[in-house]
């Protein structure tokens, strides 16, 4: 069971990474980050079955931090949208060379 769970976790993480790298929509980027975080959560839970309860505790921390991060991140996206009228990351280039 652990093997399958870890594989699933790895696939989900990879999808998240691919999303962050290739998608341009800031909202989707956030969703992909959530996907990576949850993939890690899955790995924690799976491994905690054999190692101990610590991993499950970590999952709660990750969830709390992810919620906070989503709140802050969405606030940033909204204020950027007010400037650029867009959530496309290609438009966020004020600090380029």
């Amino acid at each position: 069971m652990i093997t399958q769970s870890l594989w699933l976790s790895a696939i989900l993480f990879g999808l998240g990474v691919a999303g962050v790298v290739f998608r341009r929509n800031a909202i989707i980027l956030f969703m992909c980050i959530e996907l990576m975080l949850n993939a890690v959560n899955l790995a924690f839970v799976a491994i905690s079955r054999s190692v101990g309860i610590d991993g499950q505790v970590f999952v709660f921390f990750v969830m709390a931090v992810a919620a906070a991060e989503a709140a802050v991140g969405l606030a940033i996206v909204i204020s950027v949208f007010r400037h650029t009228e867009s959530v496309d990351t290609r438009d966020f280039n004020l600090l380029r060379w």
């Binding site: 990474v17 962050v20 790298v21 290739f22 998608r23 341009r24 800031a26 980027l29 990351t89 290609r90 966020f92 280039n93 004020l94 600090l95 380029r96 060379w97």
Partner: protein
Amino acid sequence: MNEFHPTLLWAIPLLPLLGCLINMVAAFGAPERKTIPTLVGPSVVGIAFVIAVVNFVGMLGADLHAPVVERYFQWIAVGSLQIDAALQLDQLSIVMTLIITGVGFLIHVFSIGYMKADPGYARYFSYLNLFVFFMLVLVLGSSYPLMFVGWEGVGLCSYLLIGFWFKDREKADAGKKAFIVNRIGDVGFLIAMFMLFSNLGTLDFIPIFETAPATFAYGGAVVTAITLFFFIGAVGKSAQIPLYVWLPDAMAGPTPVSALIHAATMVTAGVYLVARSSVLFALAPVSQITVAGIGALTALFAATIGLVQTDIKKVLAYSTVSQLGYMFIGVGVGAFAAGIFHLMTHAFFKALLFLGSGAVIHAMHEALHHTHSHADAQDMRNMGGLKKYMPVTWVTMWIGTLAIAGIWPFAGFFSKDEIIWMAAAHAVGPFETWFRVVWVIALIAALLTAFYMTRLMVMTFHGENRTGERERGYLREVPPVMWVPLVVLAVLSVVGGWINVPEAIGHMPILGWIPHSEWLHEWLHPLTETADGIMLQNAGELAEQAPLGGGAGMWAAISFALATAVVVITASTLGRRRFLPADQAETPTGFLGVLYNKWYVDEIYDAIVVRPVLALSRFFARYIDRGVIDGLANGAGYASRAFGWVNSRVQTGLVNGYAFMIVLGALLLLAFMLG
């Protein structure tokens, strides 16, 4: 005989410094007000003179052998180098102090009249006071470094005062020339100090002169090098061949400045340096003949240029160079007292002559100013017949002329004759022949002196007036504030020589009514006895007879007769000649033209020194500085900018790109940790 304690020694240099500061405040605060500079400027120097006289009287009444040194505070302490700010009062420094403050005071007073219409009045007195301060540090300092402080300080003041009217490009350039040429000499002074310190471990006068005879071998290479380097310094400061070129140009400054700095005091600092270092020079016969030889060459060379100059101040400038040459003959042959004696009498009569020429220029300037004429106020061809308009200046300048020409019983006769005689008497030892040459040159130059000075007087004061019909009406004698110093200096030019009448002359008929004293000689004896002893031991007794036979008295009579003859013949021949005003006169040709153009020395220096240096500077500026140095600096800038540009390509501004980098980094890290 009682113990001697100096009175207010520190106040002698500090008073002029105080005056400088007050005048500086006045120059910045209220430059148009003249009351404060008029009161403060001359009086601080006058008070310093009074203190010097008090000390001098005290020294006369005391049994004074060793110099008195007053230490105030430690100035430099680096390892074994210990230099105190200390003043040394001895027979030599008191004589110099009396000359500087005494003649300086008279020149300050004269300046009140000469500079009264100048907008830079307060600034002028500030500089002049500062000069007196540094000059007093130079002669009163108890060590070579302190002397060097004064040495550089007077150089600075000389620069400031030559370029006093700095809005005139030519005058500012003359100041720069003086400063730069003097730097060459200063390098020599510095090297000599370094060598002294590395050999003797001290730079204070008293221990140096005590240990030098035991440390250095007579005629040794080290002491010869030290003295020659000191002499390079003296050559620069005292305008000797080959560094004399700055002094004639220095006439661009106000005339009282020429009198004080470029005749009476600063330019004699080199002579003072040699006299002060008499022990070292006595140990180095090669240096001695070098000093005397350069002095003799300069005395003759400058005199030949003086023969044909038409600018009244230029004649006096070359005369000064020539007379400084005499002083170097004196100190070079080992007659240090004779050199200082001529320094003193020269300070009297040359200050008188310069101030007299200042009075003439002042009067000419006023007259030309009234009619808005642009004729040259300093050109003697525009003068003539001034004795009718300026009787006091006329009489006093004749006294100065007779003094410098060496006519008995004026001051210059005794001092110059003693130098000439000493050159003959010292023609013993290893360089006997050379000293004889020096003696002959000194005799010839003395006759040239008599000629060019008489010519100056005839062209300026005698014959018809050539100033112009309308200008003539405005020519008049200068105010008392200017002619009183002239009279005082004239009196000194008459009696100044009587303090050191040689025994040989004292016994002669007619010439001998002044009691022979050799006072100055005996007064300076405590300072020169070490040097005299060294020379007596190594070079032998002084000669009793001149190289062509005859004793001191006979040659004194001969030079007196020749000088008188030259003065009389010149006056009567030139007196009958008609000179043309400057705008109608032709420039001399042939050999006289060469003399008129000062042997083309300035042109030669321009070709072999100034232009190559400029060309080299231009090369360095264009290729080395702009190419290599700037290239390196700019290259560093360009390189970092290029590096930045390359790296900035990574900063795409795309969030996804950054995320990709993070993933790549994480993978690399992972690979590293697992592998």
